[in-house]
Symmetry: C2
Subunit: 363 residues, 2 copies
DNA sequence: CTGAAAGCGCTAACAC
DNA sequence: GTGTTAGCGCTTTCAG
């Protein structure tokens, strides 16, 4: 009857290419994917035609037929926040480069987490690989992911049997504390995580142990009252600093387990007109972009590199798994580039102007 | 021969549900999607079976068959940076809520941009909708997107014929400047965008015009030398501030078009030991999470809400387009919730402690 | 080295 | 109301 309603214009299909090149669709498929058993003359012709026609395989069709999505998903507790968005940025760059789509998903609540990791979220149909940030994956969850064929890498947390990109948090705590001790501090406050962490995030515990190890190594006693939760947030850090200041005998320096908490602490100090580092030294962790702005001494971690490395690991494992499937050489071991990880997870003390000798012992 | 290699475990298919429920796959499809012409008893049975089997439609199959991806893509110049990641966070929340997948893509370079918008990136096969942040879309690009059936909404920039979520940038410039003038400043510096912007980003121009309008309205003259590019970055802001300070007769206040530039400016001032606001008042735009930390006076925009609103507009338009296709009632007009947009794009002056009367005129 | 054909799991006419 | 039947565009045996 009437002209068919202007349908969404679609691009060239594999069949168009096949016809133009005078071969079958199967050959086009092989040629374009670089499979063997294609005469190089044929391959060339196909490739020429393909880009004359500006042919791009339809992702949905490819996924359906091949069972691979060429997509990696990054799951973060929240997308705002410097740390997380920086990790995502690092991952995005690598994925795009490798031709993978990148899906992001926020898993702020325990419910979100369960939905993603346990229930049949049909996650395996939307993604080949998963990068989970700052969230410990349980044995069960890991098993479920493995059964579903999903490749996982964690950043800042761990998952049984899967690779993880993380710094040596014990070392971080030690490094920061040693810096303070070296300056002459004896009473050192610590701004840490949450009291009750529903997501079982164990970074704070490790940094705390590192801190304590450094204290003991220097022959100093660790006072539990000097460690107080700061929730890894600016406000939390500020409140925590206030709490320490209210102590009968406050510390002369604080180790904030993240720069954001350190910023909060600095704010509290400024509001009370206390001098930094004169009255109080402050050291953070991250080297947040803002650390430079307020001259915060910190333990730098290469956050974007963490995301990039994790993405790279995931993609390599996906590709490896795909290859195995063909060659029937099932190896559970993923070739991880240990040097790259090592590089990504190195930390470095960056001394700026929020740390110095304590006033009294300076005498 | 041997046991078939443990294939990736796949979930229940529509057929499993159909068999279990004793109906055809077509009926299952209808029942589950809430289409009419399904006996409610049937629908109920199907739904029961479906979640007993924990059935989830395969996205790839759905996409291939229906031509819809249930995915929206957010394109940002870069993923790091507070502004962009906050927009993405806002959009993510809405998409997840609506059951849409969210793809993110960085379009830092002109080449990336071209690839996404013009070349056949087969974008229409991976996404139903697009949220483009801070990037003006040309007439041609918009036409191309329209032809490909992609729904677009921009944030902070515009695209001919597509909705846009943005603040009144002229108003922003005026508001900031009026605040400064009200405090008694006559010479006001401006930290703006880039000299040559390859992405044709016109926010800075609009804010500049607003600034100039306010100046003239107050009977003040605008001196071109007092406006200098700051690249919307911390470092750029710092350098720009240094440039203004080097002037024969520096301003007594600066309007930084973004908080990040303001932070850079504050840093420069601190390094020179100039008092804020005594020697120099500084006002920014955004209400970046750190504005609070350094007590920066700023013009607040609700950035996360921008992302959320844009995502909502896109999703509504996608759903509307899908409905039309069925009912043959093609309306090019998308029902945009103007109140929501208005709410999202309101700006607000937040006076903190980096602005005050100029020292001299304070006499 | 290449082609034919059978799906992948779903949606959308079109019959009944 | 419900079932049947084509596809959607690709990959992957299996023959040749």
């Amino acid at each position: 009857m009437s002209t068919p309603a202007t349908r969404r214009r679609r691009g060239a299909t594999i069949e168009d290419v096949a016809v133009q090149a005078g071969v079958s669709v199967a050959t086009v498929s092989r040629a374009l994917r670089g499979l063997p058993n294609v005469a190089s003359s044929t391959r060339e012709r196909v490739m020429t035609v393909a880009d004359e026609l500006n042919y791009q395989p339809d992702p949905a069709a490819t996924r359906l037929a091949a069972g691979r999505t060429r997509t990696v998903t990054v799951a973060v507790p929240t997308l705002n926040g410097w740390y997380f968005s920086t990790v995502v940025a690092g991952a995005e760059a690598v994925c795009t480069e490798a031709g993978y789509d990148i899906l992001v998903i926020g898993i702020g609540s325990v419910a979100d987490r369960a939905r993603l990791l346990r229930d049949d979220s049909s996650l395996e149909r939307r993604t080949d690989g998963l990068v989970v940030v700052d969230l410990n994956v349980t044995e069960d969850e890991a098993a479920s992911l493995r059964a579903r064929g999903i490749i996982l890498t964690t950043v800042g947390s761990t998952a049984p049997g899967f690779p993880s990109v993380k710094v040596d948090d014990h070392g971080v705590g030690r490094l920061a504390t040693e810096h303070l001790i070296g300056l002459g501090h004896h009473r050192i406050g610590v701004l840490g995580g949450l009291k009750h962490d529903p997501m079982s995030f164990d970074v704070p515990a490790a940094r705390q142990r590192g801190h304590e190890a450094a204290m003991r190594a220097a022959g100093l006693t660790v006072e539990p009252a000097l460690t107080t939760p700061g929730n890894f947030s600016i406000d939390g850090g500020q409140e925590a600093m206030a709490r320490l200041l209210a102590l009968h005998e406050p510390p002369t320096a604080v180790f904030a387990m993240s720069d954001e908490m350190a910023f909060g602490a600095l704010r509290e100090l400024r509001e009370r007109e206390l001098a930094v580092p004169g009255d109080m030294s402050v050291i953070g962790v991250d080297d947040h972009e803002f650390a430079r702005v307020v001259d915060l001494t910190t333990v730098r971690q290469r956050v974007a590199a963490h995301g990039a490395t994790a993405a790279r690991l995931v993609i390599e494992a996906i590709d490896a798994a795909a290859t195995e499937e063909h060659q029937g050489r099932p190896s559970l071991v993923v070739a991880t580039d240990h040097d790259a990880i090592r590089r990504a997870t190195e930390v470095e003390l960056v001394v700026r102007r929020t740390t110095g000798p304590p006033r009294r012992s300076g005498t």
